[in-house]
Symmetry: C2
Subunit: 325 residues, 2 copies
DNA sequence: TCGGCACCTGGGAGCGCTCCCAGACTCGCT
DNA sequence: AGCGAGTCTGGGAGCGCTCCCAGGTGCCGA
């Protein structure tokens, strides 16, 4: 390669790394040689010689099975990739199981990657903290429940839920329930607290809460049945995830409640299924792709040693009004 | 590391690579030192010295955006990861755009990864062929329309569709339509041809075909409307994807057709939405996770130089009978 | 004229492994 | 005793880069 361009290895290296102090002639010669030879620098050698891996890991905690099918994860992945494209940084995908956690920490702290993005659905996961302690740059998607110093990016679940609650109040609903997510997930609690605030603002009771332990249609259905048995007169329900709202809609249909006339339904996430539901679901939109982009942007900033990065970020949500409320 | 174990670098290397000709004493000493030091071998150095990258790429062609949200992709990813776990092989995720194809070929052929798994939704993609020509081991998920020598793994779309057609015939349907996928995707054509065979077997006409150019609910809805206008008397429809079946169901409901009494509906894929649809959808199940596992298994086999690998594989499908047919 | 500086270039060292060769030691056989 | 085959070990070379130092050149101001 160096021979083909008629320069030294050093000069080739300088051109590739866009360093200063290279003459235009040398630069052109190298570029031409790159094209002629279809040359692509050996990443392993670069990693070994420099001490930078030119790669970041996207770590998915919990059994990958559940997480991967989640549209949330897909969106994040899309955003991460979009932000990475153009930079010479590879994305390595890793999934953790319970038992190999120590291996994972060893691997990630061992210089194989420059930094870690982590999507941690249940907030108690100790991995982010361990990695941060080991000095690995890390950004978490979704607010972790433990670990203070860790940089995270999340959607503004609290205000999204608050906005949904206000909307239901503003449209005249008098008996508003909520189907909340699991108590050990920040996303579940934040949305519940937003709804509570909305109820409090309006002077309405916030007793009609049903928790589902999982974000699934069946979980939503069970919670909806519970709510209806406790309060047959309820006229609105804020469901903390579209996927649970599907189950809630099924139960409401089965009990012949008209939507939105008898019961208004608001979801959260704005998945594709929200717009194809019957009736199309009014929901709080979160931009998960932007979440992925922002996480990546934060991590790359850390790696570049940028100062004054915000410790954490919340991304705005917006209410999408369709037919169900 | 070698010093800590009291042996030479060579011996450490032999232990790590599980080579023969190491005494039990030396092996134990090395293992102990690994634990004590939390040692994790430097991948870059291994890659550089051996000439094996210890990584495979999962390449997603087309704009990643569409593909990533696809449950198909998520399932494959899950399977790939499951099959990889335990082996010391990293998974690198890449997405291609139109313009950087040459870069991608250069990168993938440049020894940065040992092999390539590719999920190519539209079958005309030239990338698999180029990579195969460049001598890169490659396995494609989903039958490619071009490129003969390329190893692929796919669900048995033809027989799945055939089984669906036979089932509709066997349950007494007399006027059976189909909503087919795009003509430039193997998955679309294979399912259509399976349905055709089923019609031919039963001596029924196979004229009621509507193509959708995209696998979306709206595409399915438009096709359903087309079919109903051409043949108001139709009493069954085989929809080549659950996601399109959602749209078809919407149209049928809107026209007050009872399902399954007036019109039987059979989908394909068995996504989660199939079981939560109204009514729950009878559909042809394909095991996409198994698809991912099998792809990986084939690629690793190629890399290990195993002989007699089948050129390609079809995975069985099965009819899941629910309420819609 | 001479130093000083900014610009540009080449070559040595070394990143942490794997591969390969040379050798040591132990058998069991002739 | 002698020999070869099988078992085990260490060290040299080298993978393809980056980093750093030692120069070279040209131009400016003193």
């Amino acid at each position: 390669m160096a021979r083909a361009a008629g320069v030294s290895r050093s000069t080739v290296s300088r051109v590739i790394n866009e360093e200063p102090y290279v003459s235009a002639k040398a630069r052109d010669a190298v570029h031409q040689a790159i094209l002629d030879l279809g040359y692509s620098p050996n990443q392993a050698a670069r990693t070994l010689a420099g001490n930078r891996a030119n790669a970041i890991a996207l770590v998915v905690s919990e059994q990958g099975s559940r997480v991967l099918s989640d549209p949330f994860f897909a969106g994040v992945l899309r955003g991460v990739h979009a932000e990475l494209s153009g930079r010479r940084v590879q994305l390595v995908l890793m999934m953790t199981q319970q038992d190999d956690e120590q291996d994972i920490v060893g691997y990630l702290a061992g210089g194989h990657v420059d930094g870690v993005l982590m999507v941690s659905l249940h907030g108690q996961d100790p991995l982010p903290l361990k990695l941060a302690d080991a000095g690995v740059p890390i950004v978490v998607g979704g607010r972790p429940l433990v670990g203070d110093g860790i940089q995270y990016v999340d959607s503004d679940n609290f205000n999204g839920a608050l906005e949904a609650a206000r909307y239901l109040v503003a449209t005249g609903r008098r008996r508003i329930a909520t189907i909340a997510g699991p108590k050990d997930m920040a996303v579940g609690m934040d949305r519940l607290n937003g709804w509570r605030r909305g109820m409090a603002e309006a002077g309405q009771p916030s007793d009609l809460v049903a928790h589902s332990t999982v974000f699934t249609p069946d979980g939503g259905a069970a919670a909806m049945e519970d709510l209806l048995s406790r309060e047959p007169e309820l006229d609105a329900v804020f469901v903390a995830a579209d996927i649970m709202a599907m189950g809630a809609l099924r139960v409401l249909h089965a009990q012949n409640r008209r939507i939105p006339r008898d019961v208004a339904v608001v979801g959260f996430d704005d998945l594709m299924i929200a717009s194809t539901a019957l009736p199309p679901l009014t929901t709080v939109r979160q931009d998960v792709e932007q979440l992925g982009r922002t996480m990546t942007w934060c991590l790359l900033g850390q790696l570049d040693g940028e100062e004054g990065l915000p410790p954490s970020l919340l991304l705005p949500t917006s209410l999408v009004i369709r037919a169900s409320a």
